[in-house]
Symmetry: C2
Subunit: 214 residues, 2 copies
DNA sequence: ACACTATTTGGAATAATTTCAAACCAACGC
DNA sequence: GCGTTGGTTTGAAATTATTCCAAATAGTGT
C-alpha cells in the first residue's frame, strides 16, 4: 500500500487527484495540505511514502518545501507537480532532491506509474521534462565549448593548469624550470587571450572553455 | 524520403540494419562505411539526411567523426549508436552535436522513430539514455552542494562576489565603502573558510559550493 | 630567407597578499 | 548587567604578485 500526501492549493485539482487515485487499490491518500506551512507541519508527522508537491504554492515555493523536507524526513519521496516545463524549475528540483517531476497535464496512467516508481525507490520524469533537460544540456555545452575557444599554446596551458592548482608564481617557475619572469609572461598572455583581468577571471575562463578539467 | 548512411564496422550488424530499414517505404540507404576514414570521405559527398554512427569504430572514435562532420557538413543529422549506456560517451556526443543517441539493443520500431525524428529536425534519445543523464545530473548537483557548505557571512559573501567579478581590492573597498585593509581581512577569512591558498582556489571553491552563481 | 608565433628573460613601478595585532559592535547566555 | 563569541573593521611592515615596457631566441610555415 502506497501512502500518498497531496500538497496543492488548487482545491479542485487536489480533489480530482484524490478521487482519481482512490480508484487504485494499492494507493491510499493519507493527507493533504493547500500551502507550504501546512505541508511542512503535517508531512513529518504523517510520513507518507510519496508526496505530490505542487511547485506553485501560495505562501512559499515548493522548492523551499522540498529543500526543507529533504532534511527533516529524507525517507519521503517527493514527486514534483508543475504546470511549467521550465528548465530552471526542473534543474532546481533535481538539485534539491526530488525523485520525480511530472507536468500537470499528465494523464492518470502516467501519474500512477510515476507514483509506483517513486514508492519503489526509483525516479520518474515525464518525457517532456527529460527532453527539456537534454535540450538544455546540449545548449549549454554548445554555448560553452563550441564557439571560439581561444588558442592556448601548450606552455601556456601548463602554466594555466598550475595557476588553477593554486600554485604561486615561484612554485610554477620551479616546477617548469623557468624564470618567474617567463611564468608572468605566459600569465599575461593568458589574461589577454582569455579576456580576463586577473586570476579570478583566468580561473573562470579556464573552466568556462573547459581548457582545464576541474 | 529519408536518405540514410550507415557507419559501423560490424558488417553483420550493418547489413541487418540495412535490410531492416529497407522495409520502410520512406527510408533509403544511400551509403555505408566500416571505418572513420571512409565515413569522413563519403558523407560530405553523399550528404545523407541521417547518419547512423557507431561510437566504436576501429580507426578513430565515433566522437572524432562527429566533431569533424559538425564542421564539414552541419546539415547531416547524426544518430549515435552505441552498446554503452555510459554517461561520459553520451555527454560527449551531446556536446559534439549529435542529434540523437540510441543503444544497439533498441528495437526496430524505436530506431525508425528516432530516424524520423532526426530527419524532421528534432532530437531523439532512448529512454535508458535520458535516465542515465538525469541520474548523472542529480548526482553531480547533490555532490556539489549538499555536503558541508562553509558558513560565509553576508559581508564576506559580498566581497567574494566582487572578487569573482574580477574586481581589484581597491575597487572592492570603494564599492563597499571600506578600507582596503578590511577587504583584505575578509579575503583572508574566506581563504581560511574555503580552504583555499589564493584567488584561484577562492574562485574554484565559490563555484564548487555554489556560493556565487556564475 | 622572411614573416610569424611561441618561448624566454629583465628592470622598474604598482598592486596584492601575508603576518601580526587590535578595536568596535551586536547577539546570546547566565 | 557582564562576559563570551563571532562578525566587522582597521593598521604597519614585509613579502609576492602583477603590470608595463622591451627584447633575444627558437621553431614553423611560405
Amino acid at each position: 500500500m502506497v501512502r500518498i500526501f497531496i500538497a496543492d492549493d488548487h482545491v479542485m485539482f487536489a480533489e480530482g487527484l484524490e478521487s482519481m487515485l482512490a480508484g487504485e487499490p494499492d494507493f491510499e491518500i493519507c493527507g493533504w495540505a493547500r500551502n507550504a506551512a501546512d505541508t511542512l507541519e503535517q508531512v513529518p508527522k504523517i510520513l507518507p511514502d510519496v508526496l505530490l508537491l505542487d511547485i506553485n504554492l501560495p505562501d512559499q515555493s515548493g522548492l523551499d518545501v522540498c529543500k526543507e523536507l529533504r532534511k527533516t524526513c529524507p525517507g519521503v519521496k517527493i514527486l514534483a507537480l508543475s504546470m511549467h516545463n521550465d528548465e530552471s524549475y526542473i534543474s532546481a528540483m533535481l538539485s534539491l532532491g526530488a525523485q520525480g517531476y511530472v507536468l500537470k497535464n499528465t494523464g492518470k496512467e502516467e501519474l500512477c506509474t510515476a507514483i509506483r516508481a517513486l514508492a519503489d525507490g526509483k525516479t520518474y520524469f515525464t518525457q517532456e521534462v527529460t527532453d527539456t533537460m537534454m535540450q538544455s544540456l546540449m545548449r549549454e555545452r554548445k554555448a560553452g565549448v563550441a564557439k571560439e575557444p581561444p588558442k592556448i599554446s601548450r606552455r601556456e596551458k601548463e602554466v594555466l593548469k598550475l595557476i588553477m592548482d593554486e600554485r604561486t608564481t615561484q612554485e610554477i617557475a620551479a616546477q617548469l624550470f623557468l624564470s618567474e619572469k617567463t611564468v608572468e609572461s605566459h600569465r599575461a598572455a593568458l589574461l589577454a587571450k582569455l579576456g580576463a583581468r586577473n586570476t579570478a577571471g583566468l580561473v573562470k575562463a579556464a573552466l568556462h572553455w573547459k581548457i582545464i578539467n576541474d
